[in-house]
Symmetry: C2
Subunit: 230 residues, 2 copies
DNA sequence: CTGCAAGTAGAATGATCAATCAAATGGAGG
DNA sequence: CCTCCATTTGATTGATCATTCTACTTGCAG
């Protein structure tokens, strides 16, 4: 028993929901993929919707160790962590030729308000995501303006990610994603500039207005599982 | 024949896809809603997917007259038009208790890369949306920095809308949407401030850093159909 | 070795799915 | 009045849907 049956079912369900969506994925397909009979599945889950709940719980459990953690460890610069995080989503987008987006985002729009349990799991995911970004913004301290609405900015970062991914999928190109992120970067620079002025420091050289363009760094060698499965 | 059968089918399909999604909507449900028999539907559409294409074409046709046009007419200020547009989405969100988002955004994530025809229609919608916002940014002329990537900023605006709507649905609250928009507004103010500096004009009073908070204006009396159906 | 429960096997269930088709309808043109 | 064709009717198709059920296996506790 290397992997429990329940976990294997959840893993395959997660993969298939991500690829084809919840409604488009038949229970029979999940059974085939997991190499399991219906009796086993219904032994662990009362129905298909419980499977959805399980998948969302899995995403929630993986959020910190597989998504946010690596971005946090990638750099000590709290502001730069945000862009490390966005880079990871960019890489996932690239690896899949812009065919798949954020698995939770997909489910949010497809089955987001089916039941309150599903909705609150999705909300928990987004809130946890934004809360961590908020923490990073707090860690940036005086580099950012004192009066800045940091939870609000964290929500904007998430909007940029989800909105950028959606557009990239539609366009079949990373361009809209990169453009959105570049604008966010520009905004952050202006915020830092504003904070510098607040502190009475000399303002930066001059025009730091970005045109566009992704800054491709080397991909971190071994990223943890959540990204791999994409 | 007040309304053609084909149009009625498309209208109901559009409404149902928006409410329940594409896969979750059975053809039989559409038939019942439109008061039509299956033979009629299949007389006009070769299959369910053609219905999806028709629905997307309908959204594309409505984009300008029902979504972008009203925002453009609401104010002569090109920058303010952007926020009028976002306000309209906010209103739609509010009217539906944050249960429904952008119909095209929903379909983008659910069936976005099923066929290339579907994908290019969705891309056409997003591109048209962003192109119009880009035009507004051009109209803002020297109010914005010369080197600003205006198409990129337009993409950011769309990301803010779609990402904000997604989070609002998950949270069951307008807060994440409002927060994202408020940050965008702040960004735009910083851009205008930067442009003023470029022109050698005196900088504004001081701290214009927003905390949060939606600025509720009166709702335009009669908005055109696309919003109504939501 | 026994007994019991957890887990698995897999055929069978009825419901619902998208789609088909032959027959009926109705209006416009001749 | 007749013809013709677009449109509509609605029963019917077979496939697939999620789920259930009984029987079988397995591992472990006593």
């Amino acid at each position: 028993m290397t992997t429990g049956t329940r976990d294997r079912i959840l893993e395959e369900a997660s993969r298939l929901f991500h690829r084809h969506g919840y409604e488009a994925t038949g229970v029979a397909t999940i059974l085939r993929a997991a190499g399991v009979n219906s009796g086993s599945l219904y032994h662990f889950f009362p129905g298909k919707e419980a499977l959805l709940v399980g998948v969302l719980e899995r995403h929630l459990n993986l959020l910190d160790p597989a998504i946010l953690g690596p971005a946090e460890e990638a750099t000590g610069d709290p502001v730069e962590r945000i862009f490390k995080l966005l880079e990871a989503y960019r890489r996932a987008l690239m690896v899949t030729d812009c065919t798949r987006g954020c698995p939770v985002g997909n489910l949010a729009l497809e089955v987001g308000n089916r039941t309150s349990e599903v909705q609150s799991l999705i909300d928990g995911y987004f809130s946890g995501w934004a809360r961590r970004v908020h923490r990073w913004l707090d860690q940036a301290g005086a580099r950012l303006p004192a009066a800045l609405d940091r939870p609000g900015l964290a929500r904007l970062v998430l909007s940029v990610m989800e909105g950028g991914v959606m557009q990239a999928r539609a366009a079949g190109s990373l361009e809209p994603f990169d453009a959105s992120v570049a604008q966010l970067r520009h905004y952050m620079e202006l915020l830092e500039e504003t904070a510098r002025r607040e502190r009475g420091e000399p303002s930066m050289p001059a025009g730091a207005v970005h045109e566009a363009g992704p800054e491709n760094e080397e991909a971190p060698a071994g990223e943890r599982s959540a990204w791999r499965a994409w």
